[in-house]
């Protein structure tokens, strides 16, 4: 059964697009035929993060309006054979994303893809709603920060009440908490909410923790999803997330801060 997975958060700038790019890539690397869709109409950015910005010709609105066939708008990823990107429109406004049109596109994609990843815009308005409406599963991207946690709670409320699964009385959307931009050192100092705190408040299963890392900027600079980076905590954390999503049991990593002792500092380690 093909799956529609929304990457959502309410709040902007928390790491949805970064996550969509790496998560979709990870799914593809694990052999799933995957497409990642940018729902941020007017503020398209997934193309830059995936490194395919110069190959964008048509976009999701062209497809919804019947101007081109879906196949013409899909861009094949440069790293993975079984990964495609469907860009957002940069010129139209969000209302062009009508729910019926989105539903038709998703149905068509389900005929040939295993995983459909929807990168949601910020907010709880039309664009964000059309990204989440058809979801089977949701990655709720949350930063360890009060406004982000509150917005995630709001999004969970909408998923539970207004998604297609909710209004049709089907099995509820499967929700996963993904904590990103996590800084274990600040958590240890009592300056940042811990993963446990966030989970206790939001009460949904944790699928992973992505540490705050400078390498994310390097990845976006070069248009390579962070999951491809060599020897990077962020890449490994995203691979773990994909593995857990596929059902593997993988222990949590990058959640605790180890004080480097004097001896270790003098005689090795990192």
């Amino acid at each position: 059964m093909p799956k529609v997975i929304v990457v959502t958060s309410g709040k902007g700038g928390v790491g949805k697009t970064t996550t969509s790019a790496s998560f979709a890539t990870g799914l593809a690397l694990r052999g799933n035929k995957t497409v990642v869709i940018d729902f941020d109409v007017g503020l398209r950015n997934l193309d830059l993060i995936m490194g395919c910005e110069r190959r964008v010709v048509y976009d999701i609105i062209n497809v919804i309006n019947g101007e081109v066939a879906l196949k013409q708008a899909l861009i094949k990823d440069k790293h993975c054979d079984n990964l495609y990107v469907l860009p957002a429109s940069q010129t139209r406004d969000k209302d062009a994303l009508n729910l019926d049109g989105v539903g038709r596109i998703l149905d068509e994609l389900k005929e040939s893809f295993d995983c459909i990843v929807c990168d949601s815009p910020a907010g709880i308005e039309h664009g964000a709603f059309s990204a989440m409406y058809y979801a089977d599963e949701a990655l709720v991207v949350t930063n360890p920060e009060v406004s982000s946690v509150r917005d995630s709670d709001r999004i969970l409320g909408i998923l539970a009440a207004k998604s297609k699964r909710a209004v049709e009385g089907l099995e509820p959307v499967r929700e996963h908490l993904l904590v990103t931009r996590y800084d274990p050192k600040r958590v240890a100092a009592g300056e940042m909410l811990s993963v446990d705190d966030i989970q206790e408040i939001l009460r949904i299963p944790l699928i992973g923790v992505i540490p705050e890392s400078e390498s994310v900027l390097q990845a976006s600079n070069s248009g390579t999803p962070a999951i491809h980076l060599d020897k990077s905590d962020v890449a490994e954390a995203y691979r773990d997330v994909v593995a857990r999503f596929m059902g593997d049991e993988v222990p949590m990593r990058f959640t605790t801060y180890e004080k480097v002792g004097l001896l270790k500092r003098l005689f090795g380690g990192r």
């Binding site: 946690v149 509150r150 009440a161 009592g190 300056e191 909410l193």
Partner: protein
């Protein structure tokens, strides 16, 4: 955080770590917001809150956001919870 750190914090008084403050604030506001979006919450709650506020204001000066009325499910019972935060000086008893 070690036991000694905790102990020192405790002895030093109430300078709570900000993460603890953040968690407490979130728990309070989200409980309130969740109650608000719960479709089954009866529509007389806002009116009840207003009327209670009016009565209480006759005796004590309380800000309107210091009173919360919510209905929660506890097993098979519905519990009507009334939460009034009294101003600092009144609570301390002078």
């Amino acid at each position: 955080m070690s036991l000694i750190d905790n102990l020192l914090d405790y002895l030093r008084g109430d300078n709570k770590k900000t993460a603890v403050v953040a968690k407490e604030r979130l728990q309070i506001i989200l409980a309130h917001e969740r109650a608000g979006r719960n479709a089954s919450s009866p529509d007389y709650l806002p009116a009840l809150q207003e009327e209670l506020l009016a009565v209480i204001a006759k005796y004590i000066h309380v800000e309107r956001d210091m009173i919360k009325v919510q209905l929660e499910k506890h097993g098979e019972y519905d519990v009507l919870e009334l939460n009034i935060m009294l101003p600092e000086d009144k609570r301390a008893g002078g």
